[in-house]
C-alpha cells in the first residue's frame, strides 16, 4: 500500500467515522440537522401559587461530539472527496 493510498484510506475512515458519530448520536438522542450548540435544561419548581412549574433554559452543550448534519455532512463530504481524489492520484501516478 503506497503512502497516498494510506492517507486516502485514513480520510475515508475519518469520513465514515464522522457520519457514524452523527448517526450514533441520532439514534441515541434524535437525529439533528443543526448542531445543538446550546441545549435545554428543564428546572421544575413549585411557585408562589403552589403550582409545579417547568422553566427551560438554554445552556452551552457540554457534549462537543453532539453534532448535527450541518457539520457532519460537509466534514464527511470533504474527507470522502479527498479520499477519492487521493486514490485517483495514486492510480494516475502508478499507471
Amino acid at each position: 500500500m503506497s503512502g497516498l493510498q494510506k492517507v486516502a484510506a485514513l480520510c475515508l475512515l475519518a469520513s465514515t467515522l464522522v457520519m457514524g458519530l452523527w448517526a450514533y448520536k441520532g439514534v441515541t438522542t434524535g437525529f439533528k440537522l443543526a448542531t445543538p450548540e446550546k441545549i435545554e435544561v428543564k428546572t421544575t419548581s413549585v411557585d408562589e401559587f403552589g403550582d409545579e412549574v417547568e422553566r427551560l433554559e438554554l445552556v452551552e452543550n457540554p457534549d462537543k461530539l453532539d453534532i448535527g448534519l450541518d457539520l457532519a455532512g460537509p466534514i464527511s463530504g470533504v474527507l470522502g472527496a479527498l479520499a477519492v481524489g487521493l486514490f485517483l492520484l495514486d492510480r494516475k501516478q502508478k499507471g
Partner: protein, 195 residues
C-alpha cells in the same frame, strides 16, 4: 429625638398610604418566558425567548382584562446560532422590519373561576390581535390567570400557522424541517400596582 420620632411617623404614614395601592387592581407589568415548538418530520425545534407585558386586570371583574404582551425576536433562541440568524432573517421573520411578536387584547369571556386558599384562578377566553412578521390576525385563546395577593400569573398556549402571517421560509424547508404551524406558549408573572 423629636426629629427621629417625626421621621418614623412620616415613614409609617407613607407605608400605610401606599399599602392599598400595591394590592389595588389595575395595571400589571409582566415578565416571563415565551416558547415555541416546531415539530416537523425532519426536525424538532424548540425556541425560548423572554416575554414582557402590560395588562389591566381587576380580580373583581376578570372579564374586563385588557393589555398587550410582546416577545422581542432578539430574545428568541433555538440553541443554534446560525438557525437563530435564519429565523430572524429575510426569509423567515424579518426581525429588522418586524422586531416583536405581540398579542393585544381587550375584554374576555370568563369560562371558569375557582379559589384555593388565597389563590384565585380564572380561566378566560381572550380574543385579540396577534402580530407576527408584521401581519396581524385575530386570535382567540384560553388564558389561565391566577392571583395571590398582589401577585398575578398568566399562562397560555396556542398554535400559530406560519402561512397565516405570510411566513414562507426557504423553499423546501417549510413542512419538512420547520412545521407549517408551531405551538406557542407564554408564561408570565407580575405584581398588581407595579410600575
Amino acid at each position: 429625638m423629636n426629629t427621629f420620632k417625626s421621621s418614623i411617623t412620616s415613614l409609617l404614614t407613607v407605608a400605610l398610604l401606599s399599602a392599598p395601592a400595591l394590592s389595588a387592581p389595575g395595571n400589571v407589568k409582566f415578565k416571563g418566558q415565551a416558547r415555541f415548538v416546531s415539530d416537523a418530520p425532519m426536525e424538532k425545534i424548540n425556541g425560548i425567548g423572554s416575554a414582557v407585558g402590560s395588562v389591566n386586570f381587576d380580580p373583581e371583574a376578570p372579564a374586563s382584562v385588557s393589555g398587550k404582551i410582546s416577545v422581542p425576536l432578539s430574545s428568541m433562541e433555538t440553541g443554534n446560532k446560525k438557525r437563530d440568524e435564519h429565523m430572524r432573517g429575510g426569509e423567515w421573520l424579518e426581525a429588522n422590519k418586524c422586531p416583536d411578536i405581540s398579542f393585544e387584547f381587550s375584554g374576555a369571556k370568563l369560562l371558569d373561576q375557582s379559589s384555593k386558599g388565597d389563590v384565585k384562578a380564572f380561566k378566560l377566553e381572550v380574543e385579540g390581535k396577534f402580530t407576527v412578521h408584521c401581519v396581524t390576525k385575530p386570535l382567540k385563546t384560553t388564558v389561565t390567570l391566577k392571583t395571590k395577593g398582589p401577585l398575578v400569573k398568566v399562562d397560555s398556549a396556542f398554535p400559530v400557522v406560519l402561512a397565516d402571517h405570510k411566513i414562507k421560509g426557504k423553499e423546501g424547508v417549510m413542512g419538512s424541517k420547520v412545521g407549517n404551524s408551531v405551538k406557542a406558549s407564554v408564561s408570565l408573572k407580575g405584581k398588581m400596582g407595579s410600575k
